[in-house]
């Protein structure tokens, strides 16, 4: 058995996973690409069992099992988040997810100089929090 074959397979799969994570816009597809990366790692772990002689036999396979369990947990939570996102915004495009804080560098200076104006700056974001996506958190 030549271990270079599964190793190269795993490396290519990992690269595909990275590509997918970065390329895909749909959150579910991103999760699938993450699965590809996880499986590539699994393949490396299992193959390593054959090439590396460890003190404990089958360590790689045990770790592969652990990773599979982790992947299951990850996919559960990840899909819950994706569904929540869909419920809030009727879309699962990850680059449309708003950041919780709009970038407002101005209040930092106004806090130092004129405390009164920070109230006016803070109020809109607090108001958007009521009906915006942040309201769920």
């Amino acid at each position: 058995m030549r271990p270079v074959i599964p190793y190269v397979t795993a490396a290519l799969l990992f690269g595909l996973g990275v590509y997918g994570v970065l390329r895909r816009r749909n959150a579910v597809l991103v999760l699938m690409a993450v699965e590809l990366m996880l499986n590539a790692v699994n393949l490396i772990l299992v193959t390593a069992d054959t090439t590396a002689k460890a003190a404990l036999p089958h360590g790689g396979q045990v770790f592969a099992l652990f990773v599979i369990v982790l992947a299951a947990a990850e996919i559960g939570v990840g899909l819950a988040i994706v569904l929540q996102l869909y419920r809030l915004r009727a879309s699962v495009a990850v680059d449309e997810v708003p950041l919780t804080e709009p970038p407002v560098p101005v209040p930092a200076t106004t806090v130092v100089e004129r405390p009164a104006t920070t109230v006016g700056v803070d109020r809109p974001s607090a108001g958007s929090g009521v009906d915006g996506p942040e309201g769920e958190r």
Partner: protein
């Protein structure tokens, strides 16, 4: 080239090809199905590499549960049947980084192992692996179980909007969203 090598090559080609389709297809549902193919091919790889238990767990959990969950998610998010045009964003950074990672790892591994040959170890049956897990790796195993519990609770809390909210805002939000 032994038979194992041929098998590994074939299954690897199937897995990589299916992986390419997973990240390249414009059909959401098909991406899930290609993922099944890819994961199945990998399970075959595991079998060739004498990791029996891992292969069956792969089939059970990945192909059986994870992919089904993903397909549920695809359906719950009302993904269109057929090709979608808005699945991707501009791809050159992704290609650069992904290609870099994949090819870099390939070069690294090829450089490390060349065309060497190793003997396949004893089969990773459920008995051997169970012995290892419950003897040497029992502490990580227990930690993992706690992690699973946390993930379970997290998933429930995330999918139930009425948990952990103040009563006053919950009522107005329900009304506003209905």
């Amino acid at each position: 080239m032994t038979g194992a090598d041929v098998l590994l090559l074939a299954l690897g080609a199937v897995a990589v090809g299916a992986g390419v389709l997973v990240v390249a297809t414009r059909h959401l549902v098909r991406a899930g199905l290609y993922l099944v193919v890819c994961l199945g091919a990998l399970a075959g790889d595991y079998l060739v590499l004498t990791a029996e238990l891992v292969a069956w767990v792969q089939v059970l959990i990945y192909v059986g549960a994870v992919v089904v969950l993903l397909l549920f998610a695809v359906m719950l998010t009302r993904a269109p049947i057929g090709a979608s045009d808005d699945l991707d964003r501009p791809g050159w950074p992704a290609a650069l980084i992904g290609g870099g990672a994949g090819l870099g790892l390939t070069v690294l591994l090829v450089d490390a192992f060349r065309w060497t040959r190793v003997e396949l170890p004893a089969a990773g049956t459920a008995e051997r692996l169970g012995e290892q897990v419950f003897r040497s790796w029992v502490l990580p195993f227990e930690v993992l179980s706690v992690l699973l519990l946390a993930a379970l609770v997290g998933a429930i809390v995330l999918s139930r909007p009425d948990i952990g909210r103040r009563p006053d805002t919950a009522s107005t939000d329900e009304g506003g969203r209905a």
